[in-house]
């Protein structure tokens, strides 16, 4: 039981490049989330999903896209990377309604130069 797995752990992008951060969970959780953490700041919600085929914006969605074709996977797409997207990205999941605790992945550190 691996929990929430994120890849890659580290990535350096050039301005204008695109990439996808992968997130998969093996706990059969319905709800999944993407957060970003900037230095000295708390985690801010980018996008979330309450089930396959259903996604919605969080607090800071600009510059990102998501999809949820399966229960297990919730990839985060960065289009036209900008230096402001330099951050640590965390994927999280929870079983569903009534369970308030999120389980987080180890994070993906992205640098845009």
């Amino acid at each position: 039981n691996a929990g929430v797995t994120q890849t890659p752990k580290f990535r350096i992008l050039k301005i204008g490049q695109s990439m996808t951060l992968q997130c998969t969970q093996d706990m059969n959780h319905n709800y999944m989330y993407w957060y970003r953490q900037d230095p000295g700041m708390g985690l801010k919600l980018i996008y979330y999903s309450v089930g396959a085929g259903i996604t919605d914006k969080g607090e800071v969605p600009n510059g990102y896209n998501v999809s949820r074709s399966t229960t297990e996977d919730f990839p985060l797409r960065l289009e036209l990377a900008a230096p402001s997207q330099t951050s640590v990205y965390f994927c999280a999941s929870r079983i569903g309604p009534g369970a308030n605790v999120l389980t987080f992945g180890a994070g993906s550190r992205l640098t845009v130069l």
Binding site: G40, G42, L43, K44, L45, A99, N100, F104, G105, G107
Partner: protein, 113 residues
């Protein structure tokens, strides 16, 4: 608008003493509060939580206190141990938030042997 605030960026305590971490919130719709602990290069891990119908919750060395009238919660760690050294995040969610958590900025706790 920072709905969850941790005003102390850092806290340093001696091993064996009490650590008190504080958190304030502004959104009166929040009804569930959590503390997460984060080590470097790892994702946040759940520590303890409290529902708004309670004012105290204990789990071993960790106790969370909630003062709804003051919109304030605190985490007490007694006795503190060097392994408790980490970043502690306060988080909150509301009844219709689909489990979305709003995080504070975090407090770096250092416990000296």
């Amino acid at each position: 608008d920072q709905q969850v605030k941790q005003n102390s960026p850092s806290l340093s305590v001696q091993e064996g003493r009490i650590s008190i971490l504080n958190c304030d919130y502004t959104n009166s719709m929040f009804d569930y509060f959590l503390w997460y602990k984060k080590y470097p290069a790892e994702g946040p891990t759940f520590l303890i939580s409290i529902s708004s119908i309670k004012d105290k919750n204990e789990d071993g060395r960790f106790t969370v206190f909630l003062n709804k009238s003051a919109k304030h919660l605190s985490l007490h760690i007694v006795p503190s141990q060097p392994g408790d050294s980490a970043v502690y995040f306060c988080a909150a969610s509301g009844p219709t938030s689909y489990g979305k958590l709003t995080f504070g900025q975090g407090t770096i706790l250092t416990v000296h042997p």
